[in-house]
């Protein structure tokens, strides 16, 4: 019964996918199919999320984790893989979060996409994406995890490039796919290494054997290395790709070319958190490698500050939120790095609510502004779309971590845990996190003020058209806003508070000695209050710069033009990659194509072979004369030659 929560989205996706083909030219028929697709996917998702709630109660609250064996998939030598759903607390938290947020996004899409000509395709992709994500989070072995992992990668490619007639969308889709491929390569190598070390890819088998392999070594390029460190680092490369961490992050901002619900679904709530989930899921492996954990902490903390600085100067409303997502993912990673896995997952959960809210709210703004995304051409609209305005406030308060919004609970826990880790990297992460918290509050209110306040900067035609979004878009936002308001307060005791041990059961392993999270409750008072103070300061600064002294930003930008350009160009990562990888690859490719392939290989190889093949084909066809006696003759010749051949070889 609970398995339906996982497979209903697939069913919805299949139904909507079939409807793509029956639309045809007729307007009315198409409209009917569109509605059918919307209802089937939204219905399936709603049902799935209701089941997920029961599942959550059964598994996480009542503490009955179990595994559903569906059937054996691969059985080849030592490699035995089943389709199975591992339903423990960690998995059901993700299942609940994914289904609920995704359901809201499905409903929102009905309103947001209602002018689009290919609604069934869109709805089908959304549901399929949800299915793959659920497959990922309930995987009971690494192969199935990888199946879901690649599945979400594939659907995200399709969704980012949904408007495939826009060159920018296609470029962004390809970029997301290729950059993720780099990460996936690491992930795959990690899985191979796990199999080499454990002779199994089954999670339970690996986990129970991990302690015994704590000191095992593995041969890499002729050197002996600590096996679990190698595995941890390889797996983390995969997580970096999917969760857009520094180095493999360049695809995320570009992915904003997709429709807004897509940005919300993929880049806020679900897909980018797959990396976080994977590290938390494999905590029994990561726990045995200090090196891997240190790397995770440093990369996470650096990403948090790096993305926050860029977020401060971007002008595209969705890009600001995208960079903020990256920055928040950095928080989650350094939480994992200091072994505060549950804090990371807690932030993942609250973040899913308020970030989806922010993205969809931004979508509502874009919808109102006739598809304008540049904040420099917005402003002065807060009285015209008050509900959206209020919802954006809630989302931003939660993001900035203001009490009592959800972000306050989760982000503070992470920062306290980082401080309480007591290590050098923990301290680094703490101070980076504090700075990033300041910047987060700053760019969030910069966004609000530029978008809603001040004099209108759009032309009159757009301004005349500004309108509140339809109910079908606003209602999901309100549900998400409720999450952004209460998820932190409600979840705190279960996720990281006094009930945590009972709540998580065996799904997360923290070795004794890695007690950052326990110590987090007894940090000095200033550590507890500092995030709140810097957030307030950030908000205040944003008001000063964009409301009370509007000339200041421009003056700052011109007097620190180098810094401003550096940030505006996203630390020149794209340019660097372009120079280092893309252009040499193109150059190499062009050369190989023109001279190597075209002139040498094609000339002798395919073209030559193809000509020979066609020639042979013509001859073979000529044998077929159509005359009966030729055929009979061929048969007799065949028998005679086989007998002759046979007698000769036997004689000789």
């Amino acid at each position: 019964m609970y398995t339906f929560a996982i497979f209903l989205p697939l069913l919805g996706a299949m139904v909507a996918g079939l409807l793509v083909f029956v639309g045809g030219e007729d307007e009315e028929r198409r409209a009917r199919m569109d509605r059918a697709a919307q209802w089937s996917t939204c219905g399936a998702m709603s049902l799935a999320s209701i089941i997920a709630m029961f599942l959550f109660k059964e598994v996480a609250l009542d503490g009955n984790p179990y595994t559903v064996e569906l059937f054996t998939w691969i059985d080849s030598g030592a490699l035995e893989v089943s389709w199975a759903l591992k339903l423990d607390s960690l998995a059901v938290v993700m299942v609940l979060m994914v289904t609920v947020v995704s359901t809201m996004i499905h409903f929102y899409s009905i309103g947001y996409m209602h002018h689009d000509p290919s609604i069934p395709r869109f709805m089908s992709y959304l549901s399929l994406f949800t299915f793959f994500m659920l497959m990922l989070v309930t995987a009971d072995n690494l192969i199935q995890l990888f199946f879901g992992w690649e599945g979400v990668g594939l659907v995200s490619y399709l969704l980012i490039g949904f408007w495939y007639d826009r060159p920018a969308a296609n470029a962004a889709a390809i970029k997301a796919f290729v950059v993720n491929r780099v990460g996936d390569f690491g992930f795959m190598l990690g899985i191979f290494a796990v199999f080499v070390l454990f002779q199994s890819v089954n999670l339970d088998t690996i986990f129970s054997a991990a302690a015994g392999k704590a000191d095992a070594t593995i041969q890499v390029f002729g050197g002996e290395f600590h096996a679990l460190t190698v595995i941890g680092l390889l797996l983390f490369v995969g997580a970096m790709g999917k969760s857009a961490q520094l180095g493999l992050h360049t695809w995320l901002p570009d992915a904003m070319e997709g429709p807004t619900p897509v940005s919300a679904l993929i880049h806020a709530a679900t897909m980018v958190t797959a990396g976080i989930f994977m590290v938390a899921r494999l905590s029994p492996l990561f726990e045995y490698s200090e090196t891997a954990l240190t790397v995770i902490t440093v990369v996470g903390a650096t990403t948090a500050i790096f993305a926050a600085t860029i977020g401060c100067v971007q002008n595209d409303i969705k890009r600001v939120i995208a960079y903020s997502t990256m920055s928040q993912l950095g928080y989650m990673f350094f939480a994992l790095g200091v072994s505060a896995y549950s804090a990371g997952i807690f932030h993942l959960m609250t973040h899913a609510f308020f970030k989806a809210l922010l993205f969809l709210g931004a979508g509502s703004v874009i919808h109102a502004m006739s598809d304008e995304q540049d904040m420099r051409r917005m402003g002065g609209i807060w009285k015209m779309i008050p509900v959206t305005y209020a919802l954006m406030w809630i989302g931003s308060l939660a993001l900035a971590g203001i009490w009592p919004f959800a972000g306050y609970y989760s982000k503070d826990t992470i920062l306290e845990a980082a401080y309480a880790a007591g290590s050098g990297v923990g301290g680094y992460a703490f101070w980076m996190g504090i700075t990033a918290a300041f910047l987060t509050a700053f760019y969030s209110w910069r966004l609000i003020i530029m978008t809603f306040h001040g004099a209108p900067r759009a032309d009159e035609r757009v301004m005349a058209h500004v309108h509140e979004s339809p109910k079908v878009m606003i209602l999901p936002l309100i549900v998400l806003a409720a999450g952004a308001l209460f998820a932190g307060y409600l979840g705190f005791e279960y996720f990281v508070g006094s009930n945590a041990a009972e709540f998580w059961g065996n799904s997360i392993l923290v070795l004794p000695g890695h007690d950052a999270l326990e110590n987090a409750h007894s940090v000095p008072l200033w550590v507890k209050y500092l995030p709140l103070v810097v957030a307030g300061a950030g908000i205040a600064l944003a008001y000063v710069m964009y409301m009370f002294a509007p000339g200041l930003p421009a003056a700052l930008a011109s007097s620190f033009s180098a810094v401003h350009r550096f940030l505006l160009n996203k630390w020149y990562f794209d340019e660097l990659y372009d120079l280092l990888f893309v252009r040499p690859a193109f150059y190499l490719g062009r050369n190989l194509w023109k001279t190597g392939d075209g002139a040498i290989i094609d000339g002798v190889g395919p073209d030559g072979l193809a000509a020979a093949t066609l020639n042979l084909a013509r001859r073979a066809a000529k044998l077929q004369t159509g005359y009966l006696y030729h055929y009979a003759f061929a048969m007799l010749i065949g028998v005679v030659s086989v007998v002759t051949w046979y007698l000769f070889t036997r004689a000789g």
Binding site: R618, L628, W645, R650
Partner: protein, 488 residues
């Protein structure tokens, strides 16, 4: 008076024979109103039901090894596996034939009855355990098929196909009989078990030349039935000339039965001589793969193309026979099961190619299919990709098991030639997809597609796509069947 033989193992065959005769009587004595279409349809559906019941009987009688009729007739798990496949093939063929028969004005009740008799012959072939019963089953099947090939009596091509098939088939039967008589002359028995025992005991001296020549002749006769090079010449002409549903039937049912028979004969009585016949089969296999791949490229008629495709497929299957161990046989069984669904599916798509009421069968007529029949085009694309061996479709896995078996048996030459010819073969499969999706349509094909055809298409394409997710039942069944054959 001799004791009554144990009829239980042959129960499915007996049931099918009785039903076929009953349906024949029903068709003959049914009062005909109009052109007899209603009768034909009625008898067809009864026949489909009969096939279903026969499958049930086959399963009920079960896979235990049983001999009856003085050892002429054998049932074992291997036989059960193939009989089920053959029955599925026959039933599906009847289902997809209906629309075609109606449109071409050839809906007569003899059609389903003939298909039933042919199927009965195939089941007897699969269960043959004696050179005599082998010949009887083979002839029973062939006679029905000769008539089916020329079923469209007023069509030149159909009658020509029937005649060609008959004359060449008679020649092949003659070879088979001649081979059998040589074997009998040199061994003094026609029973498979006795022949095998004889070779076991006289292994050191090696078999006499006469036996080997007899074996070559038997092999030639069977190779004709599976249309392996150089006994394949009839295939393209007959495939093209015969009515399309009959071609679909030819492409699966008789192939399945003949492959089953070939396996049983080669592994059973002549298993000890494997060293002797392996070279011949390897040669036939390579020749079939290469010819199937190259000759198909120039074809413009899609049925001819499918004929060469089936020749190539037989080449791959024979690799498994050359390997002649359990893995090889298992590969053959899996391949044949997948081949059944791919081929029937592809022919079902071909049956949808109708324009202005008449059938068209040129590859270029498929142009624009993706727009006029998106679902049919998608299904056809799936079958073509699968036949070309693109992972993760079923056709890829079928080839994989065969090639793996060959590599494990260190038959690298066969495996390499197999892979290379499947690369060449991919060309013409992919060309079909290219025509469907990228060529400008000339005239669109007729809509809509009938319900039964849609169902068969959906079922077989789902099988091809989803096989990779849950392959174990088929793998396990094939393994059990292969063990039954090797142990027997």
């Amino acid at each position: 008076m001799a004791a009554v033989p144990n009829l239980i193992p042959a129960l499915p065959e007996i049931f099918l024979a009785l039903t076929a005769m009953t349906l024949l009587m029903l068709g003959v004595f049914q009062k005909v109103d109009g052109d007899g279409q209603a009768t034909a349809r009625f008898v067809s559906y009864l026949a489909v039901i009969a096939f279903g019941l026969t499958i049930l009987l086959v399963v009920t009688v079960g896979g235990g090894r049983k001999l009856t009729f003085d050892g002429m007739f054998i049932t074992d798990f291997f036989g059960v596996f193939f009989k089920i496949l053959v029955l599925i093939a026959s039933a599906l063929t009847l289902v997809i034939s209906q629309g075609y028969l109606k449109v071409q004005g050839m809906a007569r009740f003899e059609y389903p009855v003939l298909v039933m008799f042919a199927t009965l012959g195939m089941m007897l072939m699969i269960s043959a355990n004696n050179l005599i019963s082998l010949y009887l089953g083979l002839e029973m099947q062939s006679l029905a098929l000769y008539v089916l090939a020329s079923f469209q009596r007023d069509d030149m091509r159909s009658t020509e196909a029937g005649l060609k098939y008959f004359v060449l088939g008679a020649l092949a039967s003659g070879m088979l009989l001649y081979g059998s008589s040589l074997i009998y002359g040199f061994t003094g028995t026609t029973d498979f078990g006795a022949i095998a025992a004889l070779f076991n005991s006289t292994a050191e001296g090696g078999p006499s030349v006469g036996v080997i020549i007899g074996l070559v002749f038997i092999l030639a006769g069977l190779a004709f039935k599976v249309s392996a090079v150089p006994f394949h010449m009839w295939t393209p002409d007959v495939y093209e000339g015969a009515p399309t549903p009959v071609t679909a039937f030819f492409a699966v049912g008789p192939k399945l039965a003949a492959i089953a028979l070939l396996l049983r004969v080669m592994i059973g009585p002549f298993g000890e001589l494997a060293g002797q016949w392996q070279q011949i089969v390897a040669f036939i296999s390579i020749a079939s793969m290469v010819l199937g791949a190259f000759a198909a490229i120039n074809q413009t008629n899609i049925k001819r193309m499918m004929a060469y495709s089936s020749i190539g497929n037989v080449g791959y299957v024979l690799i498994g026979l050359v390997v002649a161990d359990e893995a090889g046989i298992r590969g053959v069984l899996i391949y044949m099961a997948i081949y059944l669904f791919m081929t029937l599916g592809a022919f079902t798509c071909i049956l949808c190619m109708r324009r202005g009421g008449g059938m068209v069968e040129d590859i270029k007529d498929l142009a624009g299919l993706s727009r006029s029949h998106p679902m049919v085009a998608l299904a056809m694309a799936i079958f073509m990709f699968s036949m070309a061996g693109i992972p993760p479709l079923a056709g890829f896995l079928g080839k994989l098991y065969i090639f793996m078996a060959a590599i494990n048996a260190q038959l690298y030459t066969l495996a390499v030639i197999g892979v290379l010819s499947s690369v060449v073969g991919a060309f013409y499969y992919l060309r079909v997809i290219k025509v469907m999706y990228f060529d400008e349509p000339t005239d669109l094909l007729d809509r809509p597609v009938s319900r039964e055809i849609g169902l068969v298409l959906a079922g077989s394409s789902l099988f091809v796509v989803l096989f990779v997710i849950y392959p174990l039942p088929l793998l396990a069944a094939a393994k059990a069947a292969a063990q039954a054959l090797m142990g027997g």
